[in-house]
């Protein structure tokens, strides 16, 4: 399924994203997610997991079309034990979203742990459940979509940058100049796929919502050769890095997953699995 989708027109696909998101039932979307995993690994276990969950949640399909029930709770897990800081995620994200080099929607920081050893940590938008950026926006240009993703409507943004000030994770970027990297095909920018970006507005990680609602992996997950990045759904309790699929809650608890700046109560949807003794208190 991954290969069948035309990659040259991502924004055109994004246009259809909202419609597709609404049409896909829980089961279908879950299946798509699982297929995304199995397409790469082709493990029978993955198929079994997906089938088991599909059966368990069959009741969900009777609510088809109901946004409240249909909605997903997208989540990400980054396994720092595997991340080697190669920045392939950044490169893929920038290339596929047509970003200028200074906009790293997923940015790999090099930090030091307690012992002074360096380690790499990719930071993307945390898609907080209580996002400070959304609260301070004067014109509701930035918002949380029904699947829990924090997006920016660049048609509305007035460029006051208070959201940049409010974000504790430095995850927001400003188009200080006219974006000079444009998609090859003329496209219509949407909050889900804001390309071409507009000068004087804010851009940020969209968690590749245009991909994940269609059963595709986010570009960063796809590009990670270490399989360190997982995309998942908290409701379905499943996550995949494209190679293996895991039960999300178990995966998080067994590996002592943490979230960044927990003390700020932003409740991020991105978890980190520490592995080098990082205290992650920067």
């Amino acid at each position: 399924m991954l290969d069948k989708v035309d990659r040259s027109a991502p924004a055109a696909r994004a246009d259809a994203t909202r419609r597709a998101g609404r049409l896909l039932s829980r089961r279908q979307a879950l299946g798509a997610l699982a297929i995304a995993g199995s397409a790469l690994s082709a493990g029978p276990l993955v198929g079994a997991l997906a089938a088991a969950q599909g059966t368990a949640r069959q009741g969900g399909s009777t609510h088809e079309g109901d946004p409240a029930v249909d909605a997903r709770r997208w989540a990400m897990v980054i396994d720092l034990r595997r991340c080697d800081g190669c920045k392939k995620c950044t490169d893929a994200c920038q290339a596929k979203h047509y970003l200028p080099p200074e906009q790293e929607w997923i940015k790999v920081y090099t930090l030091r742990d307690r012992t002074g050893t360096e380690f790499a940590i990719p930071r993307l938008c945390m898609h907080c459940e209580d996002p400070p950026c959304v609260r301070v926006c004067p014109v509701t240009a930035t918002f949380v979509d029904r699947n829990g993703l924090v997006l920016v409507d660049q048609d509305k943004c007035i460029g006051c940058r208070l959201c940049i000030a409010a974000c504790p994770y430095e995850a927001r970027y400003f188009n200080w100049t006219e974006p000079n990297i444009k998609p090859p095909l003329p496209t219509t920018a949407t909050p889900e796929f804001p390309s071409p970006q507009q000068r004087g507005t804010v851009g940020k990680c969209v968690l590749c919502v245009h991909n994940i609602t269609q059963g595709q992996l986010p570009y960063c997950v796809e590009a990670c050769t270490m399989d360190a990045i997982y995309i998942g759904d908290l409701d379905e309790d499943v996550a995949t890095n494209g190679t293996e699929t895991v039960r999300l809650s178990t995966f998080l608890s067994e590996n002592n997953a943490i979230r960044l700046k927990e003390e700020l109560n932003t409740r991020p949807r991105v978890w980190y699995i520490p592995g080098h003794g990082e205290d992650l208190l920067w």
């Binding site: 200074e102 906009q103 920081y109 090099t110 930090l111 930071r123 400070p132 609260r135 301070v136 926006c137 004067p138 014109v139 509701t140 509305k156 943004c157 007035i158 460029g159 006051c160 940058r161 208070l162 940049i164 000030a165 409010a166 504790p168 994770y169 430095e170 970027y173 400003f174 188009n175 200080w176 100049t177 006219e178 507009q198 000068r199 004087g200 507005t201 960044l260 700020l264 208190l281 920067w282």
Partner: protein, 450 residues
């Protein structure tokens, strides 16, 4: 009858002095105006270039997303507050020496507010979408609070300048000869709204001026608190501080009173107002400024001590860059040159020129302080330890200089149309002195403006 004649003469001289800029502003007026207009024009050209090229020309980057424009916004709206306070508080406390300076203070409040508020637009990435703030305001956003507060305060400042002006406009209407030109006379006729100085009108006016003087104090506090909250409603170290509202209010008062001193001194000299504004006015204003400066010093100390003592990592890093890091030079320049020296000079000096130097130092020092509030917290790393770098560009400089020039320019234009001294109030004060006859206002109104 000798006393009455002398009083008539004094009244004539007062009207003459107050209307001097309206009639013939002197040979320096047009050259000065030309220079100021040129500066504003260059600033507008710079802004035009910024609109054309994008905000990067002002030196911004993602790691330094706020800077000089935000500092200007706070600094210029801040000095506006001082003008409003001087006039309002002195009115309410009925300080008798206030009358020659209230007009200039109120006009300064209006002009600097307009200049300051314009930075709310200049710093936007998409200024053409500003209307969205009115159509789709999100009530939880501090920027929406800002907009409401600034708009309300602007209306109040306009009213505060206009109300006490009505009798003086009537004076101009009645006594300015045909040489003033048809348009200008029509302006006075409309603007004086039928003022005849009747006891009924006077009672109404006094009540209204008193009411707006009371109102404008909480309004000005609101405006500056909300401005501070736009910063402190974020979790950034250095900004997320409970002291920020009052801290900004005090900074605004201190710098505002300082600017009033500078403005009064400049116009006193340019328009020969020495007979009405003397050393005592400057001494009184300077004492107020020194007290406010001392309180500001205390706030600064209090804020930095709590951050430096507990030493949570982020807060301590802000204090460290200010005291001994990359912002140390401007910080100590501010602390010594912008607060300590002005306070000492204001209290010790007994010559107008030194008091004005102290005030000018305070104005510039407080502008620097606004940069020191904005920049460290906008460049501090929230993850990792790489600080953003601050760039100073010619666009930001010419726009800032143009904004600074716009204040004297606006005041010069205003005083081309309305008297620079509150003639009616000054005459009224004389009337209430025990030595003066109760009717001393009458001859004033009968006097033709030479």
């Amino acid at each position: 009858m000798v006393g009455a004649a002398a009083e008539r003469h004094a009244a004539t001289a007062l009207i003459d002095a107050a209307f001097r800029p309206v009639r013939a502003p002197g040979r320096w007026f047009w050259p000065t105006l030309g220079v100021l207009v040129a500066m504003v024009a260059v600033a507008m050209a710079g802004y035009g270039y910024q609109l054309f090229a994008g905000l990067w020309v002002a030196g911004y980057t993602d790691a330094a997303f706020y800077g000089i424009y935000e500092a200007n916004l706070v600094a210029f709206i801040g000095v506006s507050y001082g003008g409003a306070l001087v006039s309002a508080v002195l009115r309410l406390t009925n300080a008798p020496w206030r009358t020659p300076i209230t007009r200039m203070a109120e006009a300064t409040a209006l002009v600097s507010l307009l200049v300051g508020a314009s930075f709310a637009i200049i710093h936007l990435g998409r200024p053409e979408r500003i209307w969205q703030l009115f159509l789709f305001p999100q009530a939880a956003s501090p920027i929406v609070w800002d907009m409401v507060a600034i708009a309300t305060y602007l209306a109040a400042t306009l009213i505060f300048l206009y109300l006490p002006l009505i009798p003086d406009l009537a004076l101009a209407r009645d006594r300015l000869g045909p040489s003033a030109g048809r348009l200008r006379r029509a302006f006075y006729r409309v603007a004086a709204v039928g003022w005849g100085g009747t006891p009924h009108q006077r009672r109404r006016l006094n009540w209204s001026v008193g009411a707006i003087a009371v109102l404008i104090i909480p309004l000005a506090i609101t405006v500056h608190s909300v401005l501070a909250w736009a910063f402190s409603m974020t979790s950034r170290p250095g900004w997320h501080s409970t002291i920020f509202g009052p801290y900004f209010v005090l900074g605004a008062l201190y710098s505002g009173v300082a600017l009033v001193i500078v403005v009064v001194a400049a116009f006193r000299r340019a328009y020969q107002l020495e007979p009405y504004i003397g050393l005592r006015h400057f001494v009184s204003l300077s004492r107020i400024m020194a007290v406010l400066g001392a309180v500001y010093l205390y706030f600064t100390f209090s804020e930095m001590l709590t951050a430096a003592y507990v030493r949570t990592r982020d807060e301590a890093s802000i204090v460290a860059v200010l005291l001994e890091g990359s912002f140390a030079v401007p910080f100590w320049v501010f602390l010594i040159g912008g607060v300590l020296v002005p306070i000492a000079l204001s209290l010790a000096a007994r010559q107008v020129r030194y008091l004005v130097v102290a005030a000018a130092l305070a104005v510039v020092g407080m502008w620097l302080k606004r940069l020191l509030i904005t920049l460290p917290s906008a460049t501090v790393p929230l993850i990792g330890d790489v600080w953003g770098t601050v760039q100073v560009t010619w666009v930001a400089i010419v726009i800032t200089l143009g904004a600074a020039a716009a204040i004297p320019l606006g005041l010069m234009v205003i005083f081309r149309f309305v008297p620079i001294l509150a003639v009616d109030e000054m005459a009224e004060f004389d009337a209430h002195r025990p030595s003066a006859e109760p009717s001393s206002k009458r001859p004033l109104r009968a006097e033709a403006i030479p």
